[in-house]
């Protein structure tokens, strides 16, 4: 978690990353204004993101697709949604069974550099919302380092961490309840989606985020810093 007065730290880090970075795409992103951590969380724009990967290891596996959707004014805004298939030299392999992505989809896909550029563009001024942030961030970090020779600096809300906090607050033993996306959603009476892809899961994460904040804050204001995770 960020601490009191963290806004200037954000600014400082932002400047430091900018100073070190040569790549224009990343520089463009870093020059955008980051949301203040002392703003009411409802006035901040978010981008819920989900990645599909060939595996779980960022150094061996790679990103197959990126789905994202903005959350503005406590609403999931579908006309800002994007679903980008990432092209790769390697085939999809075994994971096609899981993701339903086939080599023919990948054929019409976007190079990783371009896909990441689209994501960074959509992230400007926004807070990224992920479910189980660590995994997706490790792939994005890997990609940014490879392409831009820069780390990804972004404020993140992890819906899995929010759920973990909520369960602890309600006195549940850690690990007693599943933190998987679908299971979290069910606790808020959110519907099950039969199909899965990066975009549907991004929308699912966005909806979960809305439900979690409604439950936690109702119609009361709360600073963004109370829900943002460290990065």
């Amino acid at each position: 978690m960020f601490f009191r007065g963290a806004d200037w730290i954000v600014k400082l880090k932002q400047q430091r990353y900018l100073h070190r970075c040569q790549n224009s795409v990343m520089r463009d992103y870093l020059q955008s204004e980051f949301p203040s951590l002392r703003t009411d969380y409802r006035q901040v724009e978010y981008l819920a993101v989900d990645l599909e990967m060939t595996g779980l290891n960022a150094s061996d596996d790679h990103i197959l697709s990126i789905g994202f959707v903005p959350v503005i004014d406590q609403r999931v805004v579908l006309n800002g949604a994007r679903h980008i298939y990432v092209s790769s030299d390697q085939g999809v392999g075994q994971s096609a069974v899981i993701h339903g992505i086939h080599d023919k989809d990948i054929d019409q896909a976007t190079p990783l550099a371009e896909a990441l550029g689209l994501l960074l563009d959509a992230l400007k001024g926004r807070v990224m919302v992920l479910h189980c942030a660590q995994l997706d961030l490790s792939f994005l970090e890997q990609a940014c380092r490879g392409l831009y020779n820069s780390s990804l600096y972004v404020p993140v809300v992890d819906t899995m961490a929010l759920e973990d906090q909520r369960l602890q607050r309600t006195g549940m033993a850690r690990g007693s309840e599943s933190l998987r996306l679908g299971d979290c959603r069910r606790r808020y009476n959110l519907p099950d989606y039969s199909a899965h892809n990066a975009l549907i899961d991004a929308v699912s994460t966005a909806e979960l985020f809305l439900a979690q904040t409604r439950y936690r804050f109702g119609s009361h204001p709360s600073d963004l810093r109370h829900i943002v995770s460290i990065k």
Binding site: Y85, E114, L190, L199, A206, L210
Partner: protein, 625 residues
């Protein structure tokens, strides 16, 4: 699929949202392309059970589609208008009419709402006829539902402020026709109130004025309003009666009536507002009954009857009005069931009349209504014809039971062979009661003398009625027997703490309002009516006629009418309370629940009934009993 992934102008489809929409009418009527475009514009919001505020955005009407959870739409007085579940919609009335949102939303169960903006909604309406038609029809239905349950509309006492459209559109005298025409289009109104510098109403400009005084006369569109407006506008005060404004509109043949307060316009009353208020009548409920082709459909409508009763009670309608209204609904249901039966069975082989007895006959039904009915068939009926009539009666009796009018415990129903007779059979039955009376035989017969023809051949009914009247009037032995029976039910004396005190000194802690309060008055009225052979059936009408014939003093008749009204009203309020908490309505009054005033009034009412009974005894038994 994004071609090359770079086309940022085309939104991608979120399959889960699109698929959900496509499962629901009218979205299933859209083309693939329209559906995809609609789905891409959806915004998703989440609400928690119990939330009421900040959901409907008053400045931004949208179509809301319930994705999960459950929501209730209530009007600004908290009346339930609609309960919406997944796949259901709300918010469209404002989009269709351009009227401001006045309803509130209550979240019953956590859930997701899909919001579709006005632009997309209107685009879909113009692109797809089924889509447009669906929401127009849904709107008409909702409107109908809403006004049906708006209790104040039943009254003639409805005031202009209850109906008029607030937030009126005004313009100054020096504004140009073109500007105002644009304003009217933007605000979607057909008239603008023109005000002077002090904001006082000085004229009115309507669509018609634009046509007649501007276009037809070839005036330039930069003419100022003061040149084209109607001066000396007729207006009403917000406190005036709707009834008065109706008269004004009719008298002057106008469709717009500004509502003013201290000369300043505060609202506009239109002919449309009035038409809407007219629909609020139970007449509307009845017209809906008339459209049902199945028992199932009638059953659905009859579920609204308790709500109708409750709103009538809240509206302080008199017990007499309520009784007549509820009976009108029962009559309509009965008629519709008969029509349905005839549709299925074919035309009746001989004429018949459907008779209602008891409370339906007297038109004083309440929340508890058993059926009491019979079938009167023309004497030309053959044995084989009865197969038809039995089937007809069974259909109607069963249908009424389904609609909540339970089978009569005393089996007084047309489907029984006893109460389905040719005219000659009915005459014989009535003449037996009248000419060979015994108080035992008459004990359960009194309801038959409150007889009304609901459907069918009136001449058959009148024939029977005349026979009964002729035989009964002046028949002292018959009247004496009826009176003896009637006097068995006496009202209590009054109350002592939580007890009802009988004239015998006996105490009970509950009081049957029907048996000990209303029935004795009905009995009195019936005996007078039969004594002079009137065809009046309603208790109040019978008492009024008895007074007119000088059998009762006017004062006594009025006292009885007041007592009847008072006890009936007490009973209806009691039943309304029970309905409100989901209990089965009954006639039992717990004296503890009575206010001190009601206790006194009730005691007075009992005294009126007791003295009327004493007079009845003198008049009709004359020592015979």
């Amino acid at each position: 699929m994004i071609q090359g992934g770079v086309d940022m102008t085309v939104s991608v489809e979120v399959a889960a949202v699109r698929d959900f929409l496509s499962q629901n009418t009218p979205f299933d009527q859209l083309t693939e392309k329209q559906l995809t475009q609609a789905a891409a514009q959806v915004q998703i919001a989440y609400y928690r059970a119990g939330e009421t505020t900040d959901i409907l955005d008053y400045s931004n009407p949208q179509l809301y589609v319930v994705r999960s959870g459950a929501f209730e739409v209530r009007d600004n007085e908290g009346q339930l208008l609609d309960r919406v579940e997944p796949g259901g919609y709300f918010g469209y009335p404002s989009l269709l009419t351009g009227d401001a949102i006045t309803n509130k939303l209550v979240v019953i169960e956590d859930g997701l709402l899909y919001e579709l903006d006005e632009g997309t909604f209107q685009k879909l309406r113009s692109a797809s006829r089924p889509f447009d038609r669906f929401f127009n029809q849904a709107h008409a239905k909702r409107l109908h539902h809403a006004v049906r349950f708006r209790e104040q509309n039943y009254q003639l006492t409805l005031r202009v402020r209850d109906l008029a459209t607030y937030d009126p559109v005004t313009a100054k005298t020096h504004e140009t026709v073109a500007d105002v025409a644009r304003l009217m289009t933007e605000k979607r109104v057909s008239s603008v109130m023109v005000v002077d510098e002090d904001n006082k109403l000085c004229g009115l400009v309507t669509d018609r004025d634009m046509r007649v005084r501007v276009i037809a006369e070839g005036r330039p569109t930069d003419s100022v309003l003061s040149d084209v407006m109607t001066r000396d506008t007729i207006s009403v005060a917000s406190e005036s009666l709707v009834f008065e404004s109706m008269l004004l509109m009719t008298e002057h043949n106008i469709h717009h009536l500004p509502v003013t307060e201290n000369g300043e316009p505060i609202a506009m009353m239109t002919a449309t507002d009035l038409v809407k208020s007219q629909k609020s009548d139970p007449v509307f409920l009845i017209s809906e009954i008339g459209r049902q082709r199945t028992v199932e459909g009638l059953k659905k409508i009859s579920r609204d009857i308790p709500e109708l009763l409750r709103s009538l009670i809240r509206a302080e309608a008199s017990a007499d009005q309520i009784g007549r209204l509820l009976t009108t609904v029962t009559d309509a249901l009965t008629r519709q069931l008969l029509e349905q039966a005839i549709d299925q069975l074919g035309q009746p082989p001989v004429p018949f009349a459907w008779l209602a007895f008891g409370s339906q006959g007297r038109q004083d039904q309440t929340a508890i209504s058993d059926q009491d009915n019979g079938l009167l068939v023309g004497d030309a009926m053959t044995h084989d014809d009865d197969v038809y009539f039995k089937a007809l009666a069974t259909y109607v009796n069963d249908g009424l039971d389904v609609c909540g009018y339970c089978y009569c415990p005393g089996e007084v129903m047309a489907k029984t062979d006893t109460w389905r007779q040719p005219l000659v059979g009915w005459k014989k039955q009535f003449l037996r009661w009248i000419n060979q009376p015994s108080s035992k035989a008459l004990m359960h017969a009194s309801i038959f003398f409150d007889m009304r023809c609901i459907y069918g051949d009136q001449t058959l009914f009148h024939d029977l009625q005349k026979t009964v009247c002729d035989a009964a009037s002046g028949n002292e032995i018959f009247l004496a027997n009826l009176t003896a029976n009637a006097l068995k039910l006496t009202p209590p004396m009054g109350f002592f703490k939580s007890f009802v005190v009988d004239r015998s000194g006996e105490h009970k802690n509950t009081f049957d309002m029907k048996l000990r309060g209303i029935m004795p008055i009905n009995d009195i009225a019936r005996i007078y009516a039969l004594s002079f052979g009137t065809d009046q059936i309603h208790t109040l009408d019978r008492l009024t006629e008895a007074a007119a014939k000088k059998l009762l003093t006017l004062k006594d008749a009025r006292n009885l009418i007041d007592a009847h009204e008072f006890i009936s009203r007490l009973r209806l309020v009691h039943q309304g309370e029970l309905l409100k908490v989901g209990k089965v309505p009954d006639n039992h009054l717990d004296p503890l629940t009575l206010s001190s005033l009601s206790r006194h009034q009730l005691k007075d009412a009992f005294a009126v009934v007791a003295s009327a009974q004493a007079a009845l005894r003198v008049k009709f038994t004359r020592g015979l009993m």
